[in-house]
């Protein structure tokens, strides 16, 4: 018996489209500004299978851009995000890892998935994860450059084979650009759009 969300979704997407979306598991590395908003956008788009990794707990300073609320503060981000996703679609199957991703433990997480979303915040980890992910999946979507109040277009896409890099490529939190909702959410939405398009392609 489909839940009301799933039933209503069939007003917007065909059975064939929904079948493709449901058959595509998504890995999300990082559940911060990009990861939480990508995850919520994808669950609203009909995706039901997710594997999400993040090491942190929700802090008050996250709420300006990440898809959490005051009641989530102190909870592991992956758990809070899972609850928020299930509140939209209770039939979603969400595997979570509260863990730090490193090259040494990489093969324990996010393997065997057709689409991986790179949503970490530290440049070196973003680099390392992306390098690892290409060649291990059909498609990698990475966010790169969406900090600050203004800047280049955070929905700019650079495609290199099966790697999609979304963002202005320059504005960095390390250079004093604060992470703010408008540009972070634009970047996350574009990343989700690419995931949806790729899932519907096959």
């Amino acid at each position: 018996m489909p839940n009301p969300f799933t039933e209503a979704l069939s007003r917007y997407l065909t059975d064939t489209q929904l079948a493709k979306i449901r058959a595509t598991p998504i890995g999300i590395a990082g559940a911060g500004g990009l990861g939480s908003n990508v995850a919520m956008t994808l669950v609203r788009s009909g995706f039901v299978r997710f594997e999400i990794l993040d090491k942190d707990a929700v802090e008050a300073s996250n709420l300006n851009r990440q898809d959490y609320t005051l009641t989530d503060i102190g909870r592991p981000k992956v758990e809070a995000l899972k609850m928020r996703m299930l509140a939209v679609n209770p039939d979603a199957l969400i595997v979570t890892h509260q863990a730090e991703w490193t090259r040494a433990n990489a093969d324990a997480f996010l393997t065997g998935l057709p689409i991986l979303v790179e949503a970490f915040d530290q440049a070196e980890i973003k680099r390392e994860f992306t390098e690892w992910a290409i060649g291990r999946t059909r498609c990698v979507v990475s966010g790169n450059g969406m900090a600050g109040l203004t800047g280049g277009d955070p929905t700019t896409v650079r495609q290199i084979n099966n790697l999609y890099i979304v963002g202005d490529g320059t504005t960095s939190i390390h250079d004093g650009h604060p992470p703010l909702a408008p540009r972070v959410l634009q970047c996350a939405a574009k990343m989700a759009e690419i995931v949806l398009s790729r899932a519907l392609e096959k």
Binding site: G30, G32, G33, L34, G35, E118, A119, F120, D121, Q122, A123, E124, K126, R127, T130, E131, I134, G135, S142, G143, N144, G145, M146, A147, R158, I160, N161, L163, I165, G167, G169, T170, T171, S172, I173, H174, D175, H177, P179, V184
Partner: protein, 66 residues
């Protein structure tokens, strides 16, 4: 020799290593993913990777934020 770097033709010295190229063109080699002729070259292999003439190289420099 001539290579194509991020879509632009560029003249570089013969036998240049990927490590040397990346150090020349970016201030943050530790934030770079490199692809040569459609294949990722992992950072650990950059120093021993000799670039061939005509190579097509894509370098992605990551910035913080996510």
């Amino acid at each position: 020799m001539t290579i194509t770097l991020n879509g632009q033709s560029r003249s570089v010295s013969d036998g240049l290593s990927l490590q040397a190229l990346i150090t020349q063109v970016t201030g943050h080699p530790e934030h770079v993913v490199a692809e040569v002729n459609g294949r990722i070259v992992e950072k650990t292999a950059w120093a021993s990777f000799a670039i061939d003439t005509g190579a097509t190289i894509e370098l992605v420099t990551f910035v913080g934020g996510g």
